[in-house]
């Protein structure tokens, strides 16, 4: 290093540290899928954006405790439910089948006569009370006595139990030992998280709290907790993808380091060569922190992938150093071409900025800032800190041999056109669908976990995450009235086997009108007293025992009916609250469906309501969102290509030269597309981003090969630099192509194929032969 190098290195490192500090302090990394998605257009997409994660179904965790005797499992179920109910920060609702008499607080208790359907079919007269009281006598001598004794004075008709049953899931599992059990003897629970279902951070925190609460339970023995549900899968897949990416990353980093050591024979050079990309990455993050304050995790992952191009800058500088020349002079000589590559890429990414999608705009800001900083630090900082001693790669005998061989390779002019023709033919006949719209297909959940989820979902009668009924009305009470009017038809659909069960808002709260009708049937105190006296005449109950009951009925007669707003504010109303959505132009009610067997019958039913009820297919809506997103990316890429072509033409001041650069790049991109389609691969967003990265790398190969060089030694340096770049990219992305995870495989395979094609076609079409 030159004497002036040390202070520069020190200042550089300090600046990087400061940048890192700023970036970490100020950038919020969001994991919520919504901040990554394009703005919704249709009403269905709008609802989807709210429901993706926020919907009642997707925030539900299915829990099962197994591996201990039934009594112990039941105790654990109760203990876990109590612990989670206290953790209101993470969990909104926890149910395990146990009836909690304290759940209806004192203020709500008299409402039971307005909320329970009993009064629709019975009156509180001597006949009905007599029959009920006779049963209570029998209950008192049965094992049920311990449960019922505390309720008896206030609620002899057990209306609280009727409500508890109505509010438990529509197809609840068998109750044993007072809590839910599956048919194979596991205790079952449902926990509704507060955080969105597809937010890995929020779900991760909830799962940690869940595991900790279970671990803190006494007398666990050999019992184990099993978890399922969308949130669990989100966290699982995130962790799995990260672990595999880290593992592959570690292996490829070792390979990359070895490759660079082999190429440049200097550890110091290797470490210093990492600084431009590091600077670029940190600058990108800082730019996001400064411009947006937050970024989505996927945006960052895409950004770092695209920034992979910048690793070429220091490699070009290192390979193009000449014996007897200062590194600064080498950088200066290299700069016009390098600057062309950097600026054209940066201008191309501007197209992403025009996409109008926050995630893509962030991607553009990150990538452009990263590329510029990596490029300028390669030009102005790196040459000043590089060791003075180095080996001119033009002296390498292997490179000289490779150059000679390449010069002799035949380059038929018709070959690119033939490749293009064959490629288009293959594209036309390729099997499978062109696009992969199901993002989940790229991060698949293991089959055994899906089977377990389906089994638990069936046992618990938990709602399907795909379909939702959407009820439209002018106000919340309108939604409830509409919901009530649907119940008979839904019951018919259940009987016909179209679905196993439906859960609509009126299950939790009847409309005001229904409440008033029930209220009108309540007898006054004198009538009730007389009916009670007659009913209990033959029975051994103490006189005046049911005074609290009579008082409650009297209070219920004077109550203002319970509004959705008031009920939703109570602990019991959280379920209802999550089913009612306020809109500018009215209210929506959400009905969850379990065990949908015949979606067409449900769609026909929704159709018959003339727009008052809709069947929302979350999968179809999310796929339409992906389609919209992809269209924006494709538009952005088209615009980017045009900008790129223009920049290259301007920079090279020649359409013919620009054609030599752009033609191999475009054809190689088409060929990657062709090979993947021929293999039956449907393309996803991840493939598109990977294609973009490969095109960025291809641009470099073509630009450098096309450059007219002064001497044979410089041509050898160009080949050396390109070979190092190609091999390192093949190493890193080729490894990813072997991943077991489709998302990593998509990126790895696409970039590796792309690098190969770009390299070969650049030699074929761009390389100037002397």
């Amino acid at each position: 290093m030159r004497r002036s190098g040390w202070p520069i290195l020190l200042v550089w490192l300090l600046a990087l540290a400061a940048l890192a500090f700023f970036a970490i302090r100020h950038l919020q990394v969001s994991t919520d899928l919504r901040s990554f998605m394009p703005p919704p257009q249709t009403a269905e997409q709008k609802l989807l954006m709210e429901q993706i994660g926020d919907g009642p179904g997707s925030r539900l965790l299915l829990l099962s405790i197994e591996g201990a005797p039934e009594g112990q499992l039941a105790n654990l179920s109760r203990g876990l439910a109590d612990a989670l109910r206290k953790d209101a920060g993470h969990f909104e609702q926890v149910v395990n089948g146990a009836f909690d008499p304290a759940a209806l607080d004192d203020a709500l208790l008299p409402y039971r006569y307005l909320l329970s359907p009993t009064l629709d079919t019975h009156a509180l007269d001597a006949d009905y009370l007599g029959e009920q009281l006779q049963q209570r006598v029998e209950d008192l001598a049965s094992p049920a006595a311990a449960l019922l004794k505390p309720l008896l004075r206030r609620d002899p008709t057990l209306e609280t139990l009727v409500l508890a049953e109505r509010w438990s899931p529509p197809k609840a599992p068998a109750l044993r030992d007072g809590v839910w059990f599956s048919s194979d003897g596991h205790a079952l629970l449902l926990a509704q998280t507060r955080g969105a279902g597809f937010d890995p951070a929020a779900q991760g925190a909830a799962l940690d709290a869940l595991e900790a609460a279970f671990a803190a339970l006494p007398e666990r023995g050999a019992a184990k907790l099993a978890i399922s549900g969308p949130g669990y899968f989100t966290v699982l897949i995130n962790a799995k993808t990260r672990a595999e990416a880290d593992r592959l990353g570690a292996i490829s980093t070792i390979g990359f380091v070895l490759l660079l050591l082999l190429a440049y024979r200097s550890l110091a050079t290797l470490l210093l060569a990492a600084l431009p990309v590091l600077s670029g990455g940190l600058a990108g993050i800082a730019a996001l922190a400064f411009g947006f304050g937050s970024a989505h995790g996927i945006t960052l992952a895409f950004g770092f992938t695209l920034l992979g191009v910048a690793q070429e800058y220091p490699i070009r500088l290192l390979s193009h150093r000449r014996a007897g020349e200062d590194a600064v002079a080498s950088a200066r000589a290299l700069w016009p071409l390098l600057a062309t590559a950097i600026v054209s890429a940066a201008i191309a990414y501007l197209a992403f900025f025009a996409s109008g999608v926050a995630g893509l705009q962030q991607l553009a800001v990150f990538t452009i800032a990263g590329l510029l900083v990596a490029g300028f630090s390669t030009r102005y900082l790196l040459p000043r800190v590089l060791p003075a001693r180095f080996r001119d790669v033009a002296d390498s005998r292997a490179i000289a041999a490779a150059t000679r061989w390449l010069d002799r390779v035949p380059r038929p002019r018709w070959l690119p056109w033939l490749l293009l023709a064959v490629g288009l033919l293959v594209l036309w006949r390729a099997p499978g669908s062109l696009w992969q719209n199901d993002l989940a297909a790229l991060t698949p959940v293991p089959q055994d976990l899906l089977l377990r989820d389906a089994k638990l979902r069936g046992e618990l009668g938990a709602p399907d995450v795909r379909y939702l009924l959407v009820l439209h009305a002018a106000d919340a009470d309108g939604v409830l009235a509409l919901s009530e009017s649907l119940e008979p038809e839904l019951d018919t659909l259940v009987k016909q086997g179209a679905l196993d069960a439906a859960e609509v808002p009126s299950r939790y709260l009847p409309s005001l009108q229904t409440q008033r009708a029930r209220q009108a049937k309540l007898p006054d105190t004198a009538t009730l007293d007389a009916a009670l006296a007659e009913a209990a005449r033959e029975l051994p109950f103490r006189a005046g025992l049911f005074a609290p009951f009579v008082a409650d009925v009297e209070r219920a007669r004077a109550l203002a009916p319970l509004t959705a707003e008031r009920f939703a504010a109570t602990p019991l109303g959280t379920r209802l609250a999550s089913m009612l959505v306020r809109r500018d132009d009215g209210w929506l009610g959400l009905g969850t469906l379990s065990g949908v067997h015949d979606a067409a019958a449900l769609a026909a039913f929704a159709e018959s309501t003339h727009g008052r009820v809709g069947l929302l297919d979350l999968k179809a809506a999310s796929e339409s969102l992906v389609v919209a997103y992809r269209e924006r990316i494709l538009h952005a890429l088209g615009l980017a290509l045009a900008l790129l072509a223009l920049t290259v033409v301007v920079a090279l001041r020649s359409v013919r030269r620009a054609w030599h650069v752009l033609a191999p790049m475009s054809l190689a991109t088409v060929l990657v597309f062709v090979v993947e389609r021929a293999a039956g691969i449907s393309l996803s967003l991840f493939h598109l981003v990977a294609l973009t990265l490969a095109a960025g790398l291809g641009l470099h190969y073509a630009l450098f090969f096309e450059r007219p060089v002064a001497d044979a030694a410089e041509a050898r340096r160009t080949l050396h630099a390109t070979l190092v770049c190609v091999l390192s990219a093949l190493l890193v992305f080729g490894l990813q192509a072997w991943s077991s995870l489709p998302v990593l495989r998509a990126i790895g395979l696409t970039v590796a194929l792309g690098v190969g094609f770009h390299f070969c076609l650049s030699i074929l079409m761009a390389r100037s032969v002397r």
Binding site: E70, G71, S142, P143, L152, L175, G178, R542
Partner: protein, 181 residues
């Protein structure tokens, strides 16, 4: 006292409760089916069949769907079952483990008082008093946590005629074997 299983005995049960102004009187048959397993049939004043097995009790009444409770939810039944099982199964060890015992009387007229050792159980069942003669228990009195009392007369006492409101003293005397039948 060990019995061969299944062992059956008719019973009459008198339940005093704070909720009732006169005791409930039930008649039927008890069936001991082995450790932890018990059947209790009510014949009058209504018909009901309770089966206790594997830690839960199932109550069948008429045409209605059976209701199942865990013993954890019905500690009174659990306490009674444990004492009853251990006595009839001749399992002195289990009896000692679950209860503190105090015995009085003579071989032909004895009283055994069982106090649950388990706190949870003790809150719901204060004590069970068993009266018997020689190898045969005649009477189980379960004092429940809320002051309610269930007196179960079995074997030779099961056919005892009772008034509408039998007094506790009258029943105690029957159990101790000091009253004329």
């Amino acid at each position: 006292m060990k019995r061969a299983t299944p062992a059956r005995t008719p019973y009459v049960e008198v339940r005093y409760s704070g909720l009732l102004d006169r005791p409930l009187i039930l008649r039927g048959e008890l069936e001991y089916l082995g450790p932890g397993r018990l059947g209790k049939r009510v014949d009058s004043p209504y018909r009901e069949q309770t089966t206790v097995a594997d830690g839960s009790a199932t109550v069948r009444r008429g045409e209605r769907a059976p209701r199942t409770f865990s013993l954890g939810q019905a500690p009174e039944l659990e306490g009674f079952l444990r004492g009853f099982s251990a006595l009839l199964g001749g399992d002195a060890g289990a009896l000692q483990r679950d209860f503190t015992l105090s015995a009085s009387g003579t071989a032909s007229n004895w009283q055994l008082r069982l106090k649950p050792r388990d706190d949870r159980l003790a809150r719901r069942v204060q004590a069970i008093e068993v009266d018997g003669a020689d190898g045969t228990p005649r009477c189980f009195r379960t004092h429940e946590g809320d002051g309610d009392l269930a007196i179960l007369l079995v074997d030779s006492l099961a056919e005892t005629k009772l008034g509408v409101r039998p007094g506790q003293g009258e029943l105690d005397a029957l159990c101790r074997g000091v009253a004329k039948r």
